[in-house]
């Protein structure tokens, strides 16, 4: 999977990812001799960032953190590269004075410690070698106040028994709205729907896959639907009740974003 990134410090780096989902300071947050993460708040506390691609949302703390990054480099304990959600001056300054390639503009929640990363700051790319991105559509069908949830059958390839919207892969050469309408026809036998809203693709990480979900909200006049082999049950629920169902990853977020609740 390839993600676009913004260059902060030029250069190329490859290696295993070490991910911290909390903001980091190199002054006190990293041992400048061993390269180990000291920050109690980080889920990666105790891991070494030396020669790894160190990924965290943004920097925090004292401006002396820039110099601590330089010290880390002199000690031979620097990371191979830095990936940030959004760069701020302390980390950017440190990366430049310590010659550590760096990019930002990356949603760090898509990354996992241990991922095989190749970053190229000059090309503005971050590649996840062990992760595939899959483009899917998911449609929430609404009738009056209620939305349709479908329970995936035991015969589908993934997320068996979990609750979902009307979903499927976008075929090569197909645009996302056509894919959404095709799936609606195939899975619930409905072709007459009004498109109410669509979201920019939302990405979710699930083991070695990043799902890029193109979400749609459709209104339907009559709740007459006919499911195919891919689902075993359906329910019409109030949007807020979605939290009570074991759903496919991210469905709740999709519903809340589409209905702004």
């Amino acid at each position: 999977m390839l993600i676009r990134a913004r260059k902060i410090k030029s250069g190329r780096a490859s290696g295993k990812a070490v991910v911290s989902s909390c903001p980091m300071s190199f002054l006190g947050g990293i041992d400048t001799v061993s390269g180990k993460i000291l920050d109690d708040e980080s889920e990666s506390k105790g891991l070494s960032i030396t020669d790894k691609v160190f990924c965290f949302p943004f920097g925090k703390g004292s401006t002396v953190g820039s110099y601590a990054m330089y010290q880390l480099k002199l000690n031979g304990a620097a990371p191979a590269g830095i990936v940030n959600g959004s760069a701020e001056p302390i980390i950017a300054t440190g990366a430049i004075i310590a010659d550590i390639p760096m990019v930002d503009g990356i949603d760090v929640s898509l990354l996992r410690t241990g991922d095989d990363l190749v970053m190229d700051a000059d090309k503005g790319t971050l590649e996840l070698l062990n992760v595939a991105e899959k483009e899917v559509v998911t449609s929430i069908v609404r009738h009056r106040q209620k939305i349709l949830l479908l329970q995936r059958s035991g015969r589908v390839g993934s997320y068996r028994g979990q609750w979902a919207g009307v979903s499927g892969f976008i075929e090569p050469g197909e645009d996302d709205e056509s894919a959404a309408r095709r799936e609606l026809e195939e899975e619930i036998g409905v072709s007459r729907l009004r498109l109410v809203k669509r979201l920019d693709p939302i990405r979710f990480r699930d083991s070695e896959v990043v799902w890029s979900v193109h979400a749609f909200l459709f209104d339907i006049d009559a709740p007459d639907i006919k499911i195919d082999w891919e689902h075993q049950r359906t329910e019409w629920i109030l949007p807020r009740d979605v939290a009570g169902y074991p759903t496919v990853p991210g469905l709740q977020q999709v519903v809340f974003k589409l209905l702004e609740c």
Binding site: I8, Q71, T93, I97
Partner: protein
């Protein structure tokens, strides 16, 4: 960001490694803040001069960097961790001194002017209205923007140095006129004697990232110095605008989104909150560094009195000011140390004292954190009474 051909050359390393690094830094910061270009600066003020604040890593960086770089515009340096002449009397140890000395030599070799003060504008580096600067040191930045009418963002140490080397800075933030308009309007019911630093302290807290306009603010230049220093310590904005009673000021108030009136009780309440204990190891005056007028005023009120010797006393100032009023300095020296090149915020005060009183709003932010002190705020007059009898 759009770079000129010459800037591209520097970025490509054609003018050497030091220039390349400096340019990389300016461009990266410019990109982060959405700048479109670099603009020439009249001067830089570089922070990160005390061994206490930059540590061994900072020394190493400066020593390496000074091998192949020199500043191309006027650049002055922030206070050090010690008085270069009286460090032993301060109680600073040999090891700290030798590390501080390496920093001093690296900055000299970079061509940074050894003013060692947070008030370069009182020591020879005084900007003119409308000039663009790359100043670090929050208190100097806010004074330059608000009182002198120059334009500067609050730079970090390395970015101010990079700007000094290239002679330019990225055009964003307070370099753009649109961003110098006030967004929050603040009015004080009154500001009692000695409370000006706390007024700044409160304005910083209320303003946060928003540029404030303070109504009816009638202050001396020295009061602006301590007001702004406190504001920049508690807030994230490096500028305020103000109106003066009985004077018409042209101000664009169309960006104001909130008006706040601060009752006098809030100022006295803040003073109570920062009161701390009544016993002090050190009374520290001069944050920011004392001006000539402040030294003279203190000398006048102490003249003919005797030192109470209840605690150590530091009067912190720049060497330029120190040298220009020797008679008054002699008066102050009977009551304590008149220190140059350093101050209570960046000296290794935690190795020397535990309880410090100061008349500075800025010091109330940094003494408890950076200085690990139990800090007490008192108006200047109260402290002068306490150290004399």
């Amino acid at each position: 960001m759009h770079l000129t051909a010459q800037e591209e050359h520097i970025l490509a390393g054609e003018e050497g490694h030091g220039h390349q690094k400096a340019m990389e830094l300016l461009v990266a910061l410019g990109d982060i803040y959405g700048a479109e270009r670099l603009i020439p600066i009249a001067s830089a003020q570089v922070s990160g001069a005390s061994f206490k604040t930059i540590g061994d890593a900072g020394i190493k960086f400066l020593e390496d960097f000074s091998q192949h770089s020199k500043v191309s515009v006027r650049a002055s340096l922030n206070p050090l961790g010690l008085d270069l002449q009286r460090w032993k009397a301060m109680g600073v140890d040999e090891e700290f001194h030798s590390k501080q000395d390496r920093i001093v030599r690296a900055y000299k070799s970079l061509g940074v002017e050894p003013l060692y003060t947070c008030t370069p504008y009182l020591a020879g580096n005084r900007p003119r209205r409308g000039q663009h600067l790359a100043w670090a040191e929050s208190s100097a930045t806010v004074f330059a923007n608000s009182y002198l009418g120059a334009c500067t963002n609050r730079e970090g140490g390395p970015s101010a140095l990079a700007a000094a080397i290239i002679g330019k800075t990225a055009e964003y933030g307070l370099h753009i006129q649109e961003n110098r308009r006030p967004r929050v309007r603040i009015q004080f019911e009154s500001i009692p004697e000695g409370m000006v630093p706390l007024a700044g302290y409160l304005v910083g807290k209320i303003a946060g990232k928003r540029l404030p306009v303070v109504e009816g603010l009638s202050l001396s230049p020295d009061e602006h110095k301590s007001f702004g220093a406190a504001m920049a310590a508690t807030g994230a904005v490096s500028m305020y605008t103000f109106t003066q009673p009985g004077r018409k000021t042209k101000l664009d108030l169309s960006g104001v989104e909130e008006c706040v009136t601060i009752p006098t009780s809030e100022l006295t309440g803040t003073a109570d909150g920062l009161k701390g204990g009544d016993q002090w190891d050190l009374v520290a005056l001069g944050c920011p560094h004392c001006s000539v007028a402040e030294i003279k005023k203190m000398a006048r009120s102490l003249k003919g009195k005797k030192p109470s010797k209840r605690s150590d006393v530091w009067f912190c100032t720049s060497r330029a000011v120190y040298n220009s009023c020797p008679q008054e300095v002699a008066v102050l020296r009977r009551f304590g140390k008149v220190l140059c090149d350093t101050c209570m915020v960046v000296a290794p005060i935690e190795r020397l004292y535990k309880r410090t009183a100061s008349d500075s709003g800025k010091a109330m932010v940094y003494l408890p954190t950076l200085g690990k002190q139990s800090a007490s705020f008192r108006p200047t007059g109260t402290l002068l009474e306490a150290i004399s009898c």
